[in-house]
């Protein structure tokens, strides 16, 4: 039994931690969030140079042959720093789908650009009626000779405004909620109409309209199984990021309550405050355990891996809500301000809750 990460992974962790410490104080982050693009090209290039964009790709594809543990390490540190560069959309979602694609020609043409950071992908799977169900797809892809013609609307697509390509799920056949008949297609982002806007955590998202978009048949990336695998990876990555956020929230709360005095005592002298923070700490540790479990199962491709990932996102959602709300509560009025970091971590956790299935959704999936 060994829960230690390898020496290489330790170096990776330290390198991401250093990047976050050096580049992500709250004021710098605020500038990025307020900029039109929402993140820094310099940071993005630096991530490419440091090899983080290549981590999860096979060595034969120009990557480092990493797995979900490496992604977990990066995402947890990104959570600690509230990093806004589109690693999740590009590498976890887009890269994760492309590296598993059976369309080898498309894969070989795209992967080098993904690794250098020049090709930027995102995934458009959600629709207004689908809520969190990946297989509820109304967007159509009608075969027309050697092309497909796409029509429909996609919602809350992360970082679409800065993507070069968008991976879209669309229906080539079957009923609205059939897994069969769903295809993933690669579309040049110039072919899409987008309404781009900020998200509550300072990120960026888009509503996309597909109006008779013609896509060559050789741009088909894969089927529903590929989408489901991407969603599995997404849950692991978002949970790791959430864990990083929760760590900062509970530790800052422990620090703050020792500094802040009321009734001639530090707040941390009051038992009700102590017990609350012990509960926050316990939730955090439980999340960490289940994150390790779910990530290891995914690496080993265990038969229970998907079910455990549902358990993970459920627990993360519940704990994030408990830790986030209590961090704000115990910081009092200060926790309510934009000035303190607390609120920004809290808002990031709220968005993670809405991505790839919320707490209730994953409980239902787990119990099914």
């Amino acid at each position: 039994m060994n829960f230690d990460i390898s020496e290489e992974q330790q170096l990776l962790q330290q390198s991401v931690e250093r990047f976050v410490n050096e580049n992500y104080d709250l004021a710098t982050r605020r500038k990025l969030v307020d900029s039109p693009q929402g993140y820094s090209d310099d940071n993005w290039s630096q991530m490419a140079e440091l090899g983080w964009l290549a981590l999860s790709f096979d060595e034969s594809d120009g990557g480092f042959g990493g797995n979900q543990i490496d992604t977990m390490i990066v995402m947890e540190q990104f959570g600690r720093g509230l990093v806004v560069e589109p690693y999740f959309a590009n590498i976890v979602l887009g890269g994760g789908i492309m590296k598993r694609s059976s369309n080898l020609e498309l894969k070989t043409s795209l992967l080098p650009g993904i690794i250098t950071g020049d090709v930027r992908l995102t995934l458009a799977h959600a629709e207004e009626q689908s809520r969190f169900d990946l297989d509820d797809v109304v967007t159509t892809a009608r075969e027309d000779g050697d092309h497909y013609v796409l029509n429909g609307k996609k919602s809350m697509v992360p970082n679409a405004a800065t993507a070069t390509h968008v991976i879209v799920s669309a229906r080539t056949g079957g009923g609205q909620q059939d897994k069969d008949g769903i295809a993933l297609l690669l579309i040049d982002s110039g072919d899409l109409d987008g309404n781009h806007f900020p998200t509550v955590d300072g990120g960026r998202a888009s509503e996309l309209s597909l109006d008779n978009v013609r896509v060559p048949a050789e741009r088909i990336i894969g089927d529903f199984n590929l989408l489901a695998t991407a969603a599995h990876d997404a849950v692991l990555a978002l949970s790791a990021e959430a864990l990083g956020c929760m760590e900062v929230l509970y530790k800052s709360t422990v620090d703050y309550t020792q500094e802040r005095e009321q009734f001639d005592h530090p707040l941390s002298d009051f038992q009700v405050v102590q017990h609350r923070m012990v509960d926050m700490f316990m939730e955090y540790e439980q999340c960490k355990s289940l994150l390790y479990r779910a990530t290891l199962e995914a690496v080993q491709d265990a038969p229970t891996a998907v079910r455990t990932s549902h358990a993970l996102k459920h627990l993360i959602g519940k704990s994030a809500s408990f830790i986030g709300e209590n961090a704000v509560q115990l910081h009092g009025g200060m926790g309510m301000t934009e000035e303190l970091a607390i609120g920004h971590y809290f808002k990031r956790l709220l968005v993670i809750e809405s991505q790839f299935g919320n707490t209730d959704y994953h409980l239902t999936q787990f119990a099914a």
């Binding site: 207004e128 969190f132 919602s155 509560q329």
Partner: protein, 386 residues
Amino acid sequence: MEIDLSPEDFEFRQEVRDFLKENTAKPGADYSQWRMDYFKKAAAKGGWDVPKWPVEFGGPGWSPTQHYIWDQETVTASLPWDMPFGIGMLAPILMNYGSKEQIDRFLPDIRERNVNWCQGYSEPGAGSDLASLKTKAVLSDDGTHYTVTGTKVWTTMAHMADWMFCLTRTDDTGIKQEGITFLLIPMKQDGIEVTPIITLGGAHSVNMVHITEVKVPVENRIGEEGKGWTYAKGLLQHERTGLAGISRSIVALENLKRQAQSVTRGNRTLMDDPAFRSKVAELEIDLLAVEFTELRSLAAAASGDDPGPESSILKLKGTEIQQRIQKLTVEAGGIYSAAWGVPVGHKFARSGMQGYLGGRANTIYGGASEVQKDVIAKNVLGLKRS
């Protein structure tokens, strides 16, 4: 025990409904003109502009049931905006502890909504422990005025206020609850600097107020020097009961149900989802109970009794319920709750997130929930802490 409305109560309810219907804003009407007209007409009904004021100060003298009816009917009506600081907070203190001159000077403007007030209580070092406040007021040698210096924080609407009612420290030699003095300070003068504080939802409603050597005539002191804490404490209780917002939560829950019905999951709606549905049901059950807790509290107050133990739980339960409704609204918004500043997807998702973020303050202001529980443990259950 009697809970049914009497024929007179039904008649009253109809009268309220008719009044509210007649006085809604007409499309295209000038808002501030309409607002002023509304309060004039409400005053002409016999104190409907100040429902909670005692009869001797022009209030309507309603029974608890009538107050309940008014709250229920007005929560869905679009009344003109109104701030609680003058009408609901300062006015009762003036009535109880102000001099005749002060009542004549300040009450009419409060009633006519001519003057906006803000509350200068919390300080950077005095939040839950309000009595440790440090804003200093020094009486001049000739006894004509105080010189006030200090910092107030979380001051709602200070940037729009003409006056502040302010707790200041005139003596720091005894126990901290003594030596606090209640002063009325004009806001529009040199020495008062208002700095906005932007809160999680991106809104500006609270401020930091720096007060530097501001001279306040002794005529602006309420009651005796050093007794300000006693005056303010009664008011805090009043404020806390008002913060429960039960009628508003009942309406908010109905809205939530409608919103959840508009969210589809496959061929069903979110309200058909068993997990979501039972959370809504649990809220509804808590509301059924707390609504009667409020009525018991109102009835006790009307009969002149001290507020019973039931009033002490109103703020705690009421704010907890508000936050649960806000959270479920965000949940109902699903992926669209993450969008910021633009309406995409479900129409309610945008305000849902804003409400949830802003609502986190509900269990902090007016006495944080943890402190409220301390107060109940001590005053209601009679518990001591070592």
